[in-house]
Amino acid sequence: MKIGYFPGCSLKGMARAYDESTKIVAESFGIDLLEVDDFNCCGALEAKGSNEKLSYMLPARVMDSAKGRFHVDAVVTPCNGCYHSLLRTNAAMNENADAKGSVIKFLKDVGYGTYEGDIDVRHFLELFYNEVGPEKIKASVKKSLKGLKVASYYGCLYERPKTITKTGYKSKRDDSENPHFQDDLLKATGAEIVEFQAAASCCGGAHALQDESLSATLSAAILSAAKEAGADVLALPCPLCGAALDIKQPEIIKAHGEKAKLPVVYFTQLIGLSIGKSPKELKLTDPISNPMKVLKAKGLV
């Protein structure tokens, strides 16, 4: 199976730790990612609120490049936001002839003109769970994360809404109300997953700049719930949640106190650590919330 890799804008900027750790764990387990290096922004929430057709054209160009250049069978992205935009475009192209027509015309004008809504879109967490899975991780663990308590957080767009993720129709998707793929993968590293009610709650990241105080309140609710559950770190599969929960954490603590202080890491960083990759390669010093301190205290780095 040929897989196109769409990192998205965040992973080439502030979330580079997610980009690099994703590539490291993919390579370590034999997943060949063909990076769509001429990708453009998926349009995020802003395109779909501004112009319907543009909100399909931007993701479609990424898919067209993956198909036209690399002849891929699927495109995978580690970003919940990009995942949502690509799936939403696929749904529109398959269910709305008018949208499909204008997108294809656009692609013929500016790109390869090969994409017709016919490539599978996958989230890296889902792909890694299904193609690698907990058993293979368990067999590859060099440094068990035993003793590390992890709150496994998924964010909003990972398996929502079912109208576009087709959860329940596509057998490989995670459970949208009670996701567990990340829990299962991290358990395989030896880490302990804490009972945590806010696993699929919203961090407010979509309004991190537009409505800062509400966004900080939502983020604080997640961080403090994880901390109360006894977590040493919070692991996640989304760079936008990463921006809201990690980069914004100093501001969140200022408004809501120390109860919201908790190191945040990408799940790929923890998997990488368990299979013997170095903190440096995995960019574990990147997060503002400083996971290195607790990892050192636990003797894991």
């Binding site: 990708f39 501004s50 112009n51 054209m57």
Partner: protein, 214 residues
């Protein structure tokens, strides 16, 4: 609901003629339209608003009511549909735009209403009617974001923040000591690139996207 409404017997009691009154329908069929409903339907994401049958599943699972008093997507939709423009503006204009797009409503809606996008369309409906008296943060961010995407193809996080703060008159917030030290850490660790990647042949795509917006 049953088509034959002349006779209805429940538990041996004949309810002919009155049963409709104690089971009032909350369904507004798709052919019931108002001026506002038609307008919202045409906005990006607004197309499915008329499918709503007011069950309240969206609002029951909504992230915001715990944090924002009186935030109620079901009510926003109902007000548009009934044409209660004054209530929408006076009591709800400062609520509608607060949606954080968590998608629980859309995910759970039994009628296939794209609730999150409908709520955004209602906010846009109010923005278009200038009820806020100024550029809202959402409008400002959308403009800055889309401008950058169309021009360069990708988002530069620092530029976006700077342009957004500048457009909303808050540049001084970006110059606070904690923000500057965060920026310094990002820059020295190589996560802010002053000369971001350019996409080959983006000019042609950019031109075509601009034509689409005309």
């Amino acid at each position: 609901m049953a088509e034959n409404t002349d006779k209805m017997v429940i538990d041996g009691v004949e309810l002919t003629g009155i049963w409709k009154e104690f089971l009032p329908s909350r369904i507004l069929y798709e052919d019931v339209t108002t001026e506002f409903l038609d307008e919202v339907k045409k906005l990006p994401g607004g197309a499915t608003i008329a499918k709503c049958y007011q069950c309240g599943t969206c609002t029951g699972g909504c992230t915001l009511p715990d944090f924002v008093d009186k935030f109620n997507p079901r009510r926003f939709i109902d007000l548009v549909r009934r044409g209660h423009y004054d209530i929408l503006v006076n009591e709800n204009k400062d609520l509608v735009w607060k949606c954080v797009s968590c998608q629980r409503c859309t995910h759970r809606c039994p009628r296939g209403v794209n609730t999150q996008e409908v709520v955004r369309a209602i906010a846009k409906f109010l923005e278009d009617r200038k009820v806020f008296g100024k550029l809202t943060n959402d409008e400002a961010f959308d403009e800055v974001f889309m401008g950058e995407v169309i021009e360069d193809g990708r988002i530069d996080e620092v530029k976006i923040v700077k342009d957004f703060y500048s457009k909303t008159g808050r540049l001084k917030d970006m110059m606070r000591a904690d923000q500057l030290s965060l920026g310094f850490k990002m820059l020295t660790s190589g996560r802010i690139k002053l000369f971001g990647g350019k996409i080959k042949d983006w000019k042609k795509v950019s031109q075509r996207l601009k034509e689409e917006l005309q």
